[in-house]
Amino acid sequence: MFDYFLQQLIFALAIGAIYGLIALGYTMVYGVMRLINFAHGEFFMLGPYIYTFLFSGLVGLGGLAPVLDSAIAIVASFVIVGLLGVAIERFAYRPLRAYGRLAPMLSALGMSIVLQSAVRVTVGPQPVHFPAIVPSTPIDALGGMVTTVQLGILAAGVLLMVGLTLFVNGTRLGIWIRAASESWTTSSLLGIRVNRAVSLVFFIGPGLGAMAGIMYASYYGIMQPTMGSVIGLKAFTAAILGGIGSIPGAMLGGFLLGAIEVFGTAFLPILSFGYIGTEYRDVFAFAVLILVLLFKPAGLLGETVSEETTVAKKDY
């Protein structure tokens, strides 16, 4: 049984790292804009498509060593998707800032439809094989089995998370983002160009989403235009679970959701003597989410906002 548990833990970590990376994008955008960016899942989807386009382009042009081609394509995907995020914020969200919180959310929904349909009509609706960036080799780990791809994902995920944490905590730009997510007014009084901080967030968030998309496509070997919808919703759930607006919360939420799903699948049927099948996995995940929120209304690492700390007018 220990082997089994360990094996499941490995799966949970791999998928959790991906959820966590996407959740970061939600949480950062939410932090500075108080916006649920429904289009975020599409940045995740764009990642592998743009990577493939660039990689095959590089190879077509003669290319360098495959490792280099791949690295260039990965970095360029980050940048391109990031810039796209910045542009979308500029044109679809910024004009709506003065109109409460529903209008930008609707705009985000619209953008999600636009991005997904745009990819579908240009490259077709069918799932496309995505060649693994790292060859998948199984390695025996304490009775469990872990593949190099899983290790790579975990490593890349943790690396990006650590990198982001260092960036946000240790650099001036990072401080700007954190300041802006705490208070736009104060930040602007300090001379922080809040719009640039927002743009930065809309660069990093989608960029990380694209990275998660590439990792995901590489893990499962496919990409398709709809791949962002469901996983986007899940990552959003993860962000809420961890406490939306909190960067460590998003990572925790991601890993936790991964664990809930994996262990839900693995143990629900056993624990319920077969009455609750694996098809109830998502019900289980949502139920856990609701339970967590009932006891920690602001998520696990979110700040509990009570009437005493802010007497906020209008929730949205």
Binding site: E307, E308, V311, K313
Partner: protein
């Protein structure tokens, strides 16, 4: 009906806002709570109204302990209040701002247990209240469109419309000019009734001194002094709390003078009244 604070303390994290405060208020009088900024005046109001929880001690209205009750229950028991910053329902008309106070007495009494009033009765009360506060002419104007002074009065009207026995007024004169403040003071004085206690938190000393039956002075969350306006006015500790001690001031004064010695500053320019 009497409202009493018994050994009430309030901590915000490590900060002690109110320390072992005991006060009691009876119907039929106007009370003022004064004190320097940060002394805990608003905290007292917020604790009575149930916006803040009480760290220790008890607040009683008659025989009922108010702390631990949810805020709306406290209001239903007869505590109404105004807010330091205007908090009207800006998008609703003046009349609607009052009408909504009678929600507990509407057809939904099965949820609130209050005495039911018909719509006509409710409207009658509201109109009477508008007349009393000279707001009848703007009954159908959106509250947010009123000038500041009248918004303040509307907030006052909202606190009194339900005839609550305990009314908490949090800085009703803030932002008003002298004439308006005087009018406000007269209005509040006129609202004094046998079955009502008005508790006022206010900075404007003219107003406080002119209408209060008793003044409680708070400093650092503790009661500094309590008594009639005359008593409070002559109390030295009150003077100190508002002005700081003379010795401490002297140091600053010296520093200031040494700075001003460099000259070229307007410290002695004449007064211009606009």
């Amino acid at each position: 009906m009497a409202l009493a604070l018994e050994n009430v303390s309030k901590h915000f994290g490590s900060l002690v806002a109110i320390r072992n405060l005991s006060l009691s208020f009876d119907v039929g009088s106007i009370y003022s709570i004064i004190g320097p900024n940060g002394a805990g005046k608003s905290t007292v109001v917020n604790m009575i109204a149930g916006s803040y929880s009480v760290t220790s001690g008890t607040i009683r209205l008659g025989a009922t302990a108010l702390n631990r009750l949810p805020k709306h229950r406290i209001a239903q028991l007869g505590v109404s209040r105004t807010y330091q910053n205007l908090r009207l329902f800006d998008g609703m008309t003046v009349l609607e701002n009052l009408e909504v106070c009678f929600f507990p007495q509407s057809w939904l009494t099965f949820l609130t247990g209050a005495k039911r009033l018909s719509k006509a009765e409710r409207l009658e009360i509201c109109h009477a209240c508008l007349a009393e506060f000279h707001l009848s002419d703007v009954a159908d104007v959106l509250a947010g469109d009123l000038p500041y002074g009248r918004q303040k009065i509307l907030e006052l009207a909202r606190a009194f419309v339900t005839q609550a026995p305990i009314v908490l007024l949090d800085e009703p004169a803030a932002g008003l000019n002298h004439t308006e403040t005087k009018d406000m003071a007269a209005m509040i004085a006129g609202l004094k009734r046998e079955d009502r206690a008005i508790i006022l938190v206010e900075h404007d000393m003219d107003m406080v001194m002119s209408i209060s039956d008793r003044i409680d002075v708070l400093n650092y969350g503790e009661l500094l002094c309590s008594g009639t306006p005359d008593l409070v006015r002559t109390n030295e500790r009150v003077q100190e709390a508002y002005l700081g001690t003379t010795e401490e001031l002297d140091d600053i004064r010296k520093l200031a003078q040494s700075r001003r010695a460099q000259g070229g500053l307007r410290a002695n320019a004449g007064i211009v009244r606009h």
